[in-house]
C-alpha cells in the first residue's frame, strides 16, 4: 500500500466529504472500509488522508449527513458503521454539482476547454 503523492493528497483533501458521501451512497461501511473503497474506486490513485478521514466522518455525522452505529465484528473488534441520511443525500448532490462546476472551471483555465457551467 504505497503512500500517495502529497500533491494529490492536497487535491483530495477538499473533496473528502464528497468522496465519503459517494462511497456511502449505496451501503454502510466503517472507517477503514471507507478509505479502502475510495482507494479502490480511484484505482489506487488517491485516498483521503487517514488523519482527516475520521474528523470528516464525525463532522458529517454532527451535521446530520451521516448516522453511525456500533456493530460487533465477525471476528475482530466491533466497528462503527456509517450510513448516509436524506440530508446527506442532498449534500452529496450539491457537492457533486459543485465539483462538476469546479473541475470544469479548472479545466477551462488549465487546458483552454470551455467550462461546462
Amino acid at each position: 500500500m504505497p503512500s500517495l503523492d502529497p500533491r494529490r493528497s492536497q487535491l483530495v483533501r477538499g473533496a473528502t466529504p464528497l468522496l465519503v458521501l459517494a462511497v456511502l451512497r449505496d451501503r454502510e461501511l466503517y472507517g477503514y472500509q471507507i478509505a479502502q473503497e475510495i482507494r479502490d474506486r480511484s484505482g489506487g490513485a488517491f485516498a483521503p488522508s487517514e488523519g482527516s478521514l475520521y474528523p470528516t466522518l464525525h463532522r458529517l455525522e454532527a451535521d446530520g449527513a451521516l448516522t453511525a452505529e456500533w456493530r460487533d465484528g465477525d471476528r475482530g473488534p466491533r466497528r462503527r458503521y456509517y450510513r448516509i441520511t436524506a440530508r446527506g443525500g442532498s449534500a452529496l448532490a450539491a457537492h457533486e454539482q459543485e465539483w462538476i462546476q469546479f473541475s470544469g472551471a479548472v479545466g477551462g483555465v488549465a487546458f483552454g476547454r470551455p467550462s461546462g457551467g
Binding site: A62, P77, R80
Partner: protein, 408 residues
C-alpha cells in the same frame, strides 16, 4: 507493568487532547484503535514486520494532537452549542419545576410530621406554637426554591455539556456564572416578593443554589434527578424542625401574649394607658375602621368612621402602627413606641388617610390603633386594636435600600 505499545501511547495522547465527554472519547479511541489494527494487519500482509507496520499505521493518521483537535472541532460545532444552550434552559426549567414540586411535597409532609411530633412532645418539654415564627415558613419555602435552583443548575450543566459535546468541566463555570447572574438579577431587581430577613436570605440562596448545582455537576451523571431515600430525609427534616422549635422555646424569651379576657387587660399588656374616654370596653368604639387596604409595595389606605360626640372629648387623634411578631402575633417586646404615627384628620364624621408603612424593612406585621389624648392628658385607645398584617413587598434592592422602624 507491561511496556505501553506505540498504539496505546498514541491513543492515550489522543484521548488526553480530545477534551470531550468521556463516553464520546471512549468511542472515538475505540474507533481509531480498530482502524489502526486493520491498517497494521494490511501492512503486515504486504510484508512489513509488526513493529514497522504499527509505526506506519500511526504515521498515516498523523500527529495525535492534530487528530484530536480536528475531532474535537468536528464535534464542538457552533450549531450544537446554540442547540445545547436552548436544551440547557429547558432542562433547568423542567428539572427545577420537578424539584420544586417534589420539594414542596417533601416539606409539607415534614412540617405535618413536625407539627404532630411537637404536639406530642408539648406535654413533656416546653415547646409551643409561638416559638415557630411564621417567617420560618418563608425560609422553608425559600429553601425549596434554592433546592430547585440547585437541581436546575446541575441539569443545565449536564445537558449543555452532553449536547455541545463538551466535558462538564469545560462548561460548569460559564453556566454557573451566567445562570447565577441571571437569577441574581431577577431576584435582586425585578421580582416583587414579600420580604423579611428569612425571605431575603433564602431568596439570595436561589442564584447561589443554581451556581452550586452547576459546579457540582460531574461527567457521567444523569441529567434527570430521581428522589431516592426520601422517607429518611423527610423524617430527618421533621426531626430538625422539632429540635429547632424546642431549642427556640428554651432560649428565646416569649413575648407576652394576650390569652383572651377583658380588653382592659390587653391594653395593660400592650402599654396602652386605657380605653377611653369613658367607653364600654366591649364597644362600640368611637372610631371604627370601615375599610383598610394596601397595595403591593405601596402604601396602606384606610378609612375610619368617627363618632363626632366621642371624638370631641379627645385631642391629637392619630393612627399608630405597632410592630408585631408575625401576623396576629403579639406586639414585639422591643417595640417601646409606635413604629409610625399618622395624624387622623376627621372631616364630616370620617377620616381617610394613607400610611406608607410597608416602606419599613422590619414592619412585616403590625397593629393599627387609633389613639387620642383625653382631658386628663392620657393617650387613650379609641378603636378595637385589631392585629392587621402587612408585608414588605418589593425587590431585594428595595429591601436593602429601606430603613428599619424607629420604634426601638
Amino acid at each position: 507493568m507491561a511496556e505501553q505499545s506505540h498504539t496505546d501511547a498514541y491513543l492515550e495522547r489522543v484521548r488526553t487532547e480530545l477534551r470531550l465527554p468521556p463516553d464520546l472519547e471512549t468511542d472515538i479511541v475505540e474507533e481509531i484503535r480498530g482502524h489502526l489494527a486493520d491498517t497494521t494487519t494490511a501492512l503486515v500482509d504486504e510484508g512489513l514486520d509488526q513493529e514497522r507496520a504499527e509505526r506506519e499505521a500511526l504515521a498515516r493518521l498523523g500527529a495525535p494532537d492534530v487528530m484530536a483537535e480536528r475531532l474535537r472541532r468536528a464535534h464542538q460545532t457552533r450549531r450544537r452549542l446554540f442547540a445545547a444552550a436552548g436544551g440547557g434552559v429547558w432542562a433547568a426549567g423542567t428539572e427545577g419545576l420537578y424539584a420544586l414540586i417534589f420539594g414542596s411535597l417533601f416539606l409539607g409532609v415534614a412540617l405535618v410530621l413536625a407539627a404532630v411530633a411537637t404536639l406530642a412532645l408539648s406535654t413533656v418539654v416546653h415547646v409551643d406554637g409561638r416559638s415557630f415564627d411564621t417567617s420560618f415558613n418563608t425560609g422553608f419555602a425559600g429553601l425549596v426554591w434554592a433546592f430547585a435552583a440547585e437541581r436546575g443548575g446541575r441539569a443545565a450543566t449536564l445537558v449543555v455539556g452532553a449536547r455541545s459535546r463538551r466535558c462538564v468541566g469545560a462548561v460548569r463555570w460559564p453556566i454557573a456564572a451566567v445562570g447565577a447572574g441571571l437569577l441574581g438579577w431577577l431576584v435582586l431587581g425585578v421580582i416583587d416578593l414579600t420580604l423579611d430577613w428569612p425571605a431575603v436570605v433564602t431568596t439570595l440562596a436561589i442564584p447561589a443554589g443554581f451556581a452550586l448545582g452547576a459546579l457540582r455537576a460531574k461527567d457521567g451523571q444523569a441529567p434527570r434527578w430521581r428522589a431516592h431515600r426520601t422517607w429518611p430525609l423527610v423524617l430527618a427534616v421533621a426531626g430538625a424542625i422539632v429540635g429547632v422549635s424546642i431549642v427556640l422555646a428554651a432560649v428565646v424569651p416569649s413575648a407576652p401574649a394576650w390569652q383572651g379576657g377583658a380588653l382592659a387587660e390587653r391594653d395593660a399588656l400592650y402599654r396602652f394607658d386605657r380605653i377611653g374616654p369613658d367607653l364600654d370596653p366591649s364597644g362600640p368604639y368611637p372610631i371604627a375602621s370601615s375599610s383598610l387596604s394596601w397595595v403591593s409595595g405601596g402604601p396602606i389606605f384606610g378609612s375610619w368612621t368617627v363618632d363626632p360626640a366621642a371624638i370631641a372629648t379627645v385631642r391629637d387623634v392619630r393612627l399608630e402602627l405597632w410592630r408585631s411578631i408575625g401576623p396576629n402575633g403579639p406586639i414585639a417586646a422591643d417595640a417601646v413606641r409606635p413604629a409610625a404615627t399618622v395624624p387622623l384628620e376627621v372631616v364630616d364624621g370620617s377620616a381617610d388617610l394613607t400610611v406608607n408603612a410597608p416602606r419599613y424593612r422590619d414592619l412585616s406585621a403590625f397593629w393599627l390603633v387609633v389613639t387620642g389624648i383625653d382631658r386628663a392628658g392620657q393617650r387613650v385607645r379609641m378603636t378595637d386594636p385589631d392585629a392587621v398584617t402587612a408585608a414588605f413587598r418589593g425587590t431585594l434592592i428595595d429591601w436593602f435600600q429601606a430603613s428599619d422602624t424607629p420604634d426601638r
